[in-house]
Symmetry: C2
Subunit: 154 residues, 2 copies
DNA sequence: CCGTATCCACTACGATACTG
DNA sequence: CAGTATCGTAGTGGATACGG
C-alpha cells in the first residue's frame, strides 16, 4: 500500500500519461520562473535577491510601516516596531536604501532629524508584497493547523 | 542644505500638513498589514510565518519546480535544482510537507520511489508568489543598479 | 534510491556601551 | 536624536560518511 500524506493538488488520474493533466494550466509559466530563479552557480538572480531582501527579520515590517504611515523619523519607526534593536533598524534601513527602496533625508539640525520614506520602487514592491500578505492572512490558519497535526503525529 | 538621497515616492509638497497627501491612497490597508505583521512579543503571525517558510534558501525553488513540472521524484528535483545538497532538499521538502504545501508519496518498492507534488494550498501560494516574481523580474535590474551606484559612492 | 547523522563554517541577530 | 562599535550567541546551510 502507498503511504500517502495530505491531499493532492489535482484529482487523481487513474490513467497516468506522460503529459500533465489539463488542470495543470500555467505550468510553463512556473517552469520559466523556476529556470530564472534557479541560477545554479550563474550570476545573481533578481527574484532571489528581492526575496532575500524582504525576508530578513525586519525589512518587511519597515516597508509596511513606511507604506502605512508615510514619512517616519528613525525613532518613530523604532517605537512603532517595538522590539527592534537600534542596530538592526539601522542595518535594515541602510539595506533598503542601498536597493533604492527607501530614501533617507538628513536635516542638519540639532538635535538631528532623519526622515525615511518609500521610493516609487519600494512602494511598488510593497503593493506586490501586500497581495502575498493577503493570501497569507487568508490561508495562514490552515497552514498552522497542518503544522500542528504534523507535530502531534510525530 | 538637506542631504537627500535617491528620489521620493511622492511629489514634494512645499506645504506640509498633518494629513498625508492624497496620492498616498491605500495607506490604511498597509497600516493594517503592518499591525498584523508586527506581532511584538504576541503570538505568531501567519504572514511572517509564511514569508519565513518561502524565504529560506531553497523552498522557493522547490515550490516552483513542482509547480512547473508537476510530480517529481526526489532525485529528479535534486538534479533540476543542481547545487542543492541532499540534506537540504530533504529538510526543505519536509518543512513544506509539514505546512501542507506539498505531499510526499512513498511507493514501497525496491529501490524506493518517492514522489512529491504540490497541494492545492501550495499551488495557491505559488500563484501568489509568482506575481511577486513577475514584479521582481521587471524591477530587479533597477534595484541592482541602485546597489551598484551605492557601492561605487562609498 | 532516498534518505540520516555528524561536524563545521558563517552570519544574522541581540545586548550593551559609547559618540557627534 | 540618531546613530556606530564591539562582542556573544543561535540558527542555517554545506561536506562528508553511513544506513535501510
Amino acid at each position: 500500500m502507498i503511504k500517502q500524506e495530505g491531499t493532492l493538488a489535482l484529482p487523481g488520474n487513474t490513467e497516468v500519461t506522460n503529459s500533465q493533466p489539463s488542470t495543470f494550466a500555467g505550468e510553463k509559466k512556473f517552469q520559466e520562473i523556476f529556470q530564472v530563479a534557479n541560477t545554479t552557480r550563474n550570476q545573481l538572480c533578481p527574484v532571489r535577491d528581492i526575496v532575500a531582501r524582504i525576508s530578513d527579520k525586519w525589512s518587511m515590517l519597515a516597508i509596511f510601516a513606511l507604506g502605512g504611515f508615510g514619512t517616519l523619523r528613525f525613532n518613530e519607526m523604532k517605537h512603532k516596531i517595538g522590539d527592534i534593536s537600534q542596530r538592526m533598524l539601522t542595518v535594515t534601513l541602510r539595506n533598503l536604501e542601498a536597493d533604492g527602496l527607501v530614501t533617507r533625508t538628513v536635516f542638519p539640525e540639532i538635535p538631528p532629524r532623519v526622515e525615511y520614506q518609500l521610493t516609487p520602487l519600494g512602494y511598488g514592491l510593497m503593493q506586490q508584497f501586500s497581495l502575498l500578505a493577503d493570501w497569507a492572512t487568508d490561508n495562514g490558519e490552515q497552514i498552522l493547523r497542518c503544522r500542528q497535526l504534523q507535530r502531534n503525529a510525530s
